[in-house]
């Protein structure tokens, strides 16, 4: 195996990871499918959500933290469902308490039910408050290079622009912006949301992203475990293609066999 691949780890907030595929844990049929798909994906970082406990119900329901134990995975609690900065900050504090002081979080503050696009004003406000409170913030944002830079400068440990709306599976809608965000950045850039199939993930990696975070693309596939396997390979293939440095694209042909010493 070439050295570039062998030593190609990915680091965020001082934590080192081999896999560049980060996965969500929602929308699976059951806990067994969740576990099987995530094992197959090779992901080391998994997102979780925090929600109200069902008082007096489902006591024997397996807990996500038991199915995916902290000895095997790094948790990335999210603020999904938060539409204002204050709710997002409360959610992160509850998650940190729940996870015994674990301070790595995925911040998302949504602006609109229909698009689930981020509310960047509220996101900036929440990011500042969380950073001041000692959190390592991986932040979900638009594919906007200016905002991505602002969030990096504030101290977010990773910036995660969307490829397309959450759960849409539309793939990367603005490759130029993703590339610009990557080129400007000194922190890891991960595409988060909107990936639909393996080629979308490969494109993100070929653009130079440090990783991809996805949930629905795997969980909503007809065969989630097989799609998890495809995504793992796509992430690796895209990363290797990026490191290899692709040939320049040309408009016209360039013969692959020698053009001299022809016998006719």
């Amino acid at each position: 195996m070439p050295n570039e691949i062998h030593n190609d780890s990915f680091s965020v907030a001082g934590r080192e990871f081999t896999s560049r595929l980060l996965v969500g844990t929602g929308k699976y049929k059951d806990m067994q499918e969740t576990r099987d798909a995530i094992d197959t994906s090779g992901a080391e970082i998994v997102t979780i959500a925090v929600r109200r406990t069902n008082i007096g119900q489902n006591k024997d329901e397996p807990n996500i933290l038991e199915v995916l134990p902290p000895s095997e995975f790094t948790y990335l609690p999210n603020t999904a469902g938060c539409f204002d900065a204050q709710t997002a900050v409360r959610t992160c504090r509850l998650a940190r308490e729940l996870l015994d002081g674990h301070n790595l979080v995925k911040l998302e503050v949504l602006g609109d039910e229909k698009t689930l696009f981020p509310d960047v004003v509220q996101t900036l406000q929440a990011a500042e408050e969380l950073i001041n409170d000692g959190f390592d913030v991986m932040v979900y944002t638009n594919d906007d290079p200016i905002m991505a830079k602002r969030l990096e400068e504030m101290g977010c440990v990773a910036v995660m622009p969307l490829a397309a709306p959450i759960g849409s599976g539309l793939g990367i809608r603005n490759r130029l912006n993703i590339r610009t965000i990557v080129e400007n950045a000194k922190v890891p850039i991960l595409v988060d949301a909107g990936v639909g199939t393996a080629s979308d993930a490969a494109v993100a990696m070929e653009l130079g992203c440090d990783g991809v975070l996805m949930n629905t693309a795997i969980a909503a596939a007809q065969n989630p475990v097989l799609m998890a396997s495809a995504m793992k390979k796509a992430i690796q293939a895209g990363r290797e293609a990026y490191l290899a440095g692709r040939m320049p694209a040309k408009r016209f042909a360039s013969a692959s066999s020698p053009v001299d010493s022809l016998f006719f």
Partner: protein, 66 residues
């Protein structure tokens, strides 16, 4: 005494502390986190944390999510 527990009205005995409420709900030892009136109550502070009438208590746990 009435409180709001996870958004719903609930009658609980007066003079209960948070540890007592968690016990009453059979959640002792479970992986949960608690806030009262939008302020976090650390697990280490359950014992002796007074619950007042009309407190809004939220008890949360981890679930799958993306």
């Amino acid at each position: 005494m009435q409180i709001y527990l996870n958004g719903e009205e609930k009658q609980i005995p007066a003079n209960l502390d948070m540890a007592g409420l968690i016990g009453l709900l059979e959640l002792t030892g479970q992986r949960i986190a608690v806030e009262v009136n939008e302020e976090l109550v650390p697990r280490s502070g359950f014992e002796g944390h007074p619950i007042k009438a009309n407190d809004r208590v939220e008890i949360i746990h981890a679930v799958g999510g993306g």
